[in-house]
């Protein structure tokens, strides 16, 4: 039987742009160009490697977001995923992580899955908890923050490095995994891959398709509210000296002045 892999990806504002907020204090997704979150490329890569090592596998890439989020799906398809699902609904604007996990969990169940693969965090919200929430909602094992992952005989295993220890984890499928940026460089789409992606199917779903009410998501359905957002004042550039033999001494004097030595 075919191994059904769903990769969750996010279309995010480019981190090198001037990111900011809308009047509603949600992430401004208009004024900075978007792209497939860099950290999700690692998820696509690991899904491809798992599929390549399986007898038979199919990779569906899933996103929730506005129309432009289609670009993120195309990128993943051009890397080699087989098909895509895009959940797009006007009522989703301002959805928090709980609403997002509800939408994605329903979509994953609708698509059918043995393995869900996520990145370690998005590069905009950076909470890093969506994979854990998906596991909680789907009622399957959470095998997260892996720097190495493999799937064989209905079991997923991997290594999770944390501050205190390096852990070897194992769980039976179906399961939700997330992979870190230590899991291996993501491949670049080939020209052939880019051409092939144009013909791959992208299914669009709305909230009704997923049996979700508008009140459960969006800004109104969010369980947190941002009271205010303040731009951090730019750091004022201090003294810069060019080392002509005295640089270290000048730096030491600065550190002494600030009472670090």
């Amino acid at each position: 039987m075919s191994l059904r892999i769903v990769v969750c990806v996010k279309y995010v504002p480019d981190a090198t742009g001037d990111r900011g907020f809308t009047d509603e204090l949600t992430t401004d997704r208009e004024s900075v160009d978007g792209l497939l979150s860099e950290l999700d490329e690692y998820a696509v890569e690991q899904a491809l490697q798992i599929a390549e090592s399986a007898d038979d596998a199919e990779i569906t890439v899933l996103t929730m977001g506005p129309e432009d989020a289609n670009d993120a799906l195309r990128k993943a398809l051009s890397m080699g995923a087989d098909k895509a699902v895009h959940v797009d609904d006007d009522d989703l604007r301002g959805t928090d992580v709980f609403g997002t996990s509800l939408v994605l969990a329903r979509a994953i169940e609708k698509v059918g899955y043995d393995l869900v693969v996520c990145g370690m965090a998005s590069t905009d919200g950076v909470m890093g908890v969506l994979p854990a929430l998906l596991a909680e909602r789907l009622g399957v094992p959470q095998v997260t923050l892996l720097s190495e992952v493999s799937v064989a005989d209905g079991t997923v295993t991997g290594r999770r490095d944390n501050d205190a220890a390096s852990e070897e984890l194992g769980a039976s499928l179906p399961a939700v995994v997330s992979v870190t940026d230590q899991s291996g460089e993501a491949r670049y789409p080939s020209f052939k891959g880019i051409m092939a992606a144009k013909k791959k199917p992208v299914e669009t779903l709305d909230l009704e398709d997923l049996d979700i009410e508008a009140e459960q998501v969006g800004l109104a359905g969010a369980w947190t509210a941002v009271e205010d957002a303040t731009e951090r004042p730019a750091r004022t550039k201090g003294e810069i000296v060019t080392d002509e033999g005295e640089g270290a001494k000048q730096l030491a004097s600065f550190l002494a002045e600030r009472r670090f030595i």
Binding site: V140, T144, R232, R235, T242, K249
Partner: protein, 320 residues
């Protein structure tokens, strides 16, 4: 006063500093009740009491170490049911955030992660976060359920406030199968003898300019002269020169020390995300155009292999 749950981060009963910061912050919201999972509650209790824990709820079961995350969510939920707290504070480690998220979902509660400050508000706790690579500061509030907030290390100075801190047993029913993710083996990380990166008052980091694993000894020597932790940029980690556990930046640790010294680091946005809330920043880089110099309080344009060892010597001399 109402109770505030604080999940204790400890190693066999030795309480880690971020927990003391959480207890200090919790006192702004109510009476801290510590939740100690795993062995060593009796060892930890006096420290927890010293920093304000009115009670210590303790549970120990093999599942806490044999399975990932879920048994601790079960325990924290049991604590919430027994105490009915006004808020739950959890250390912002990778595991802490996952525990907090699953707990919040079970409680139909909102979640705020990576807070750098927490204060009481008219409509519940207000948490401050640093977002978009620390270019913005937001203040947020939870609008549904019992607020669950994860707090980053170095968010408050721990203040002692002795309380009773008696240990009570917390009854926990662990999810069948422990949630299904077995911890097959665990290799403890070797201690470097240096302060924890996220907790250190001073951090010295090396980047691409260090140009080789063997050259990191230059960075370590400077760190040791200052009693500092050692960090590394992603470029240095990806090159295999220094372990990922020491990576500072968006996908590594985010640090906010009193002093951050960047040596041979250009200062890409991903790195700045992890260090630009540091109080004082200095940099040594041979490229005067490096973006890191836009952030510094003091910068030296020069060869780090000249400047850093001389600086280390100078510090040792001055410190006698």
């Amino acid at each position: 006063m109402a109770d505030v749950l604080v999940l204790v981060d400890h190693v066999d009963g030795s309480v880690r500093k971020p927990t003391l910061e959480l207890l200090t912050l919790a006192r702004r919201l109510g009476d801290p009740v510590a939740v100690h999972l795993g062995p060593g509650a009796d060892t930890a209790a006096p420290t927890l009491a010293e920093y304000g824990a009115v009670r210590v709820l303790a549970a120990d079961a093999p599942e806490f170490t044999e399975y990932l995350v879920v048994p601790k969510v079960d325990a924290l939920r049991a604590a919430v049911e027994s105490v009915s707290p006004v808020a739950v504070l959890v250390p912002s480690s990778a595991e802490g955030k996952e525990i907090a998220a699953r707990l919040a979902l079970r409680l139909d509660s909102g979640l705020i992660t990576d807070a750098v400050d927490v204060e009481a508000g008219d409509r519940g706790p207000i948490a401050t976060q640093s977002v978009f690579a620390a270019s913005y500061t937001t203040r947020s509030r939870i609008t549904s359920g019992i607020p669950v907030i994860t707090v980053k290390p170095n968010s408050a100075a721990p203040e002692a406030a002795p309380a009773a801190g008696a240990v009570e047993t917390l009854e926990v029913t662990v999810t069948e199968g422990g949630g299904g993710t077995r911890v097959v083996s665990r290799a403890a990380r070797e201690s470097t003898g240096r302060p924890e990166l996220t907790e250190a008052a001073i951090v010295v980091s090396g980047g691409r300019g260090v140009n080789g694993a063997e050259n990191f000894s230059v960075i370590e020597a400077l760190a040791d002269s200052l009693g500092a932790a050692v960090g590394a940029s992603r470029a240095a980690v990806d090159a295999g020169w220094y372990p990922h556990s020491s990576q500072v930046g968006q996908t590594g640790k985010s640090v906010s020390p009193q002093l951050y010294i960047a040596a041979g680091i250009s200062g890409a946005i991903q790195h700045r995300a992890g260090m630009q809330t540091s109080k004082t920043i200095v940099a040594v880089n041979k490229d005067e155009e490096a973006p890191i110099f836009d952030l510094v309080d003091f910068g030296v344009v020069g060869d780090l292999f000249q400047v850093v060892p001389t600086l280390t010597e100078e510090i040792r001399t001055r410190k006698g």
